[in-house]
């Protein structure tokens, strides 16, 4: 199998498939780069893992920030 066939969860097409707007995609890339919460990614993860989401959006955002507060920033 070729490397280019490799699919990662974060790259997988969402329900909108290829119709997903490039702007939405760009926004998701920026979110990841700056380390912002991405509830859509969490929902996709739950779908891929085959279980219902256990966190609502508010709980997800709250837990995300809590985990982020422990990370170090460099000099």
């Amino acid at each position: 199998m070729c490397r280019r066939d490799m699919r990662r969860e974060t790259e997988r097409e969402t329900g909108n498939g290829k119709r997903e707007m490039w702007l939405t995609r760009a926004a998701r890339v920026v979110r990841r780069i700056i380390g912002a919460p991405d509830y859509e990614a969490y929902l996709e993860h739950c779908r891929a893992a085959g279980h219902a989401p256990t966190l609502g959006e508010r709980e997800y955002v709250a837990q995300f920030f809590e985990a982020k507060g422990k990370g170090a920033r460099c000099c």
């Binding site: 199998m1 070729c2 490397r3 066939d5 490799m6 699919r7 990662r8 969860e9 974060t10 790259e11 926004a27 890339v29 920026v30 979110r31 990841r32 780069i33 700056i34 380390g35 912002a36 919460p37 991405d38 509830y39 990614a41 969490y42 929902l43 996709e44 993860h45 739950c46 893992a49 959006e57 508010r58 997800y60 955002v61 709250a62 837990q63 995300f64 920030f65 809590e66 985990a67 982020k68 507060g69 422990k70 990370g71 170090a72 920033r73 460099c74 000099c75």
Partner: protein, 680 residues
């Protein structure tokens, strides 16, 4: 690519890089264009990445894409998330690059542009990027464990405790020196202080927006924040011109010190979504955008370097910016950009939890560090485009300038007071003299480059100088304050964990007395060193920056010790030189620098000699200065002792394993086959 074409391409890049180095090294007396410096750097990075990082990835580490990464195995859609390698590259770079690669090269420009550039370019390829790569690799194979945990498991428990203690002390010195840079940039600067002060309500608004009002809408909140930030920048110029409002934002360095400490304490106690995260988002946007724009601007105008390749201070060791000769102090002054121990905390923190496949680590860790080095080279270019007279007048106190006046005069590094007044007025400041710390002189350099680029592009040109200057100050101060927020918080967690061994309640992060006491202790720690730097007659940077450099490089030595131990235990001892050689170099420079800072007979260099020179002085501050010298001595000796202990324990471990007296047990996570499609 066809093999022949590949050979020709890489031969061409190597020859071009060598030629650029030749031009830089052989130029004497004439002005060199920044293009040569950029060419030498980029060609070296390309060759290093193509060949050396590939060797590390395939032969030394044996990265295996069939092995599931922690992101895949523990995927929770939150912190363990498999992420596209280019996206993670951006995320990792934003986490590792801060003020260090901008400030260090500016200070090291005291020796001329050549020594710092060589160290940045060669140091990163053989040292800094290797350290980041080996740490990421080790953490990746250990479920994303931290440096301290790996030291404990792979070397021994004492090494783990030593590493943790080292990180805490280094954090305190780092926060003090970064805060000092901000204080020196904002003292008596109503424009600068107003803009930076505005970032606090802007961040609070953003936090409320994305947590309470529209949860998770970071994009909207960031866009609003960015617009308000630019508004605050422009409004700062108006504030500075208002005789009734400007005094509210005009403060002495001492007053700013107390404000910084108050800010650091509050920011570390508040919930992260309220202030820390929104500020972090703003600073990341600004950081990446400004760095990209700076790179384009430098390429557009290709400025000439007005600083010579080597200044007399390289061999004399009596520099007014900081004391000490080129060896070892150029290598201490530039830590971030060449090799930075702090990266080992990021490479064993969030990044390993987001890697989708092992081979991505090459681009993210090695490539990310190359980019940080490139930022350092750009900072060096920005500083060296300044007139050397302006550079020295800005980066030293009048006392230090007077001490070095003879050498400065002989070298022609002089500037008239009228010229400095005119420059300050152009930058919208009352004075630019004695703004040590590197940030203001870098801001002047960046302002000149941006103003030059806008005039090339047909823009307003020089009239924008003041705006660009304060934009650059805001850019630097914003991410220094982010480091202070997060650093104080991380220091607080570490202190709570340590104290929790004695009194378990203290380790509860939700127990407010413990939170307040530990935050207060961390702020008091860096605040003391900051205050000491602010009232230091020689400007503080002179003593604090070398201490920071030594501590940061020693943390890198700790990381390389752990990395070498793991390679030895993995049965890759024949490749252990990849981490052992940078380790030997780091230990040599840090121990030499530490020794000289403590024991040199020159009062400008040695802490103890400086204290002795003050004995019997009528100076009312003498007692305090003597105490500070002794405290700095203690800190330097503590760092040196900690690393010596770690090296001895590591050496013992290597010897036991290599002589088969001990079975090598590697604490890698068990092999799990990836569920993703793989193959080459």
């Amino acid at each position: 690519m066809q093999p022949l074409a590949s050979v020709l391409l890489w031969s061409g890049i190597s020859v071009l890089g060598a030629a650029a180095f030749g031009v830089l090294a052989l130029s004497r007396g004439e002005t060199v264009n920044a293009a040569w410096l950029l060419t030498a750097a980029v060609c070296t990075y390309a060759v290093g990445y193509r060949f050396y990082s590939r060797f590390l990835a395939t032969r030394v580490f044996g990265l295996d894409d069939r092995r599931a990464t922690p992101a895949e195995r523990f995927n929770n859609g939150r912190d363990y998330v498999p992420t596209n390698k280019w996206v993670l590259y951006g995320h990792h770079f934003a986490a590792i690059a801060g003020a260090g690669p901008l400030v260090g090269p500016v200070l090291a420009a005291q020796f001329g542009f050549l020594p710092g550039t060589l160290w940045l370019v060669i140091g990163v390829v053989l040292g800094g990027a290797v350290q980041d790569f080996v740490m990421l690799f080790c953490s990746l194979r250990r479920d994303g464990k931290s440096l301290g945990q790996m030291a404990k498991e792979e070397v021994n428990p004492a090494a783990g405790a030593t590493a943790m203690l080292a990180v805490l002390f280094i954090m305190i010195i780092l926060l003090a020196v970064l805060a000092l840079i901000v204080v020196n940039a904002l003292k008596a600067s109503p424009w600068g202080l107003f803009t930076i002060a505005c970032t606090i309500p802007i961040a609070l608004l953003m936090g409320w927006w994305m947590k309470r009002w529209r949860p998770g809408r970071v994009g909207e909140a960031s866009a609003v924040g960015a617009v308000l930030l630019l508004g605050a920048l422009v409004a700062g110029g108006w504030v500075a011109d208002q005789p009734h409002i400007a005094p509210l934002f005009t403060h002495s360095a001492t007053a700013l010190t107390w404000m910084m400490m108050g800010y650091g304490f509050i920011a570390s106690v508040l919930p992260v979504w309220m202030l820390l995260c929104p500020r972090d988002y703003l600073s990341t946007f600004l950081k990446i955008t400004t760095i990209l724009v700076l790179a384009v601007a430098i390429l557009v105008i290709l400025p000439p370097l007005r600083m010579p390749a080597l200044t007399p201070f390289a061999s004399l060791g009596e520099g007014p910016v900081f004391a000490g000769k080129l060896f070892p102090f150029a290598f201490i002054t530039i830590a971030c950009g060449a090799i930075s121990g702090f990266h080992s905390l990021v490479a064993s923190g969030t990044t390993p939890k987001m890697i989708a496949r092992e081979s991505d680590a090459r681009l993210i860790a090695y490539g990310g560090m190359l980019m940080e080095s490139f930022v350092g080279v750009m900072a060096m270019i920005a500083a060296c485009t300044l007139d050397p007279g302006v550079y020295f007048a800005m980066n030293t106190t009048p006392a230090a300038l007077a001490q070095a006046s003879q050498v400065l005069g002989q070298a022609g590094f002089v500037v008239t007071p009228d010229f400095m007044r005119e420059l300050a007025a152009r930058m919208g400041e009352t004075t630019l003299l004695a703004r040590s710390g590197g940030a203001p002189s870098l801001a002047v350099g960046i302002a000149q480059i941006f103003a030059g680029a806008t005039s090339v592009l047909g823009g307003g040109g020089r009239t924008l100088d003041a705006l660009w200057y304060h934009f650059a100050i805001m850019f630097e101060a914003l991410f220094i304050l982010t480091t202070i927020d997060t650093g104080t918080r991380v220091g607080r967690f570490m202190l709570q964990e340590i104290a929790g061994h004695v009194w378990p309640r203290f380790a509860e992060t939700s127990w407010y007395p413990g939170v307040i006491a530990s935050s207060g202790a961390v702020v008091a720690g860096w605040g003391y060193f900051l205050y000491q730097g602010v009232v230091d007659p020689l400007g503080g940077i002179n003593s604090l920056w070398p201490l920071f450099g030594i501590s940061n490089q020693l943390l890198a030595a700790v990381a390389l010790c752990v990395g070498t131990t793991i390679l030895v235990k993995m049965g890759r001892a024949r490749f252990a030189w990849v981490t052992a050689l940078p380790l030997v170099w780091l230990v040599t420079i840090t121990m030499t620098a530490g020794w000289q800072k403590v024991f040199s007979a020159d009062p400008r260099l040695g802490f103890l000699a400086h204290a002795a020179s003050l004995a019997g002085s009528t100076n009312p501050a003498a007692a305090r200065l003597i105490f500070n010298d002794r405290l700095n001595t203690f800190v330097a000796l503590l760092f040196m002792t900690v690393v010596t202990v770690l090296i001895i324990t590591s050496l013992r471990e290597w010897w036991l394993v290599l002589s088969h007296r001990k079975t090598a047990i590697v604490h890698e996570a068990p092999y799990v086959q990836t569920g993703y499609a793989t193959g080459d």
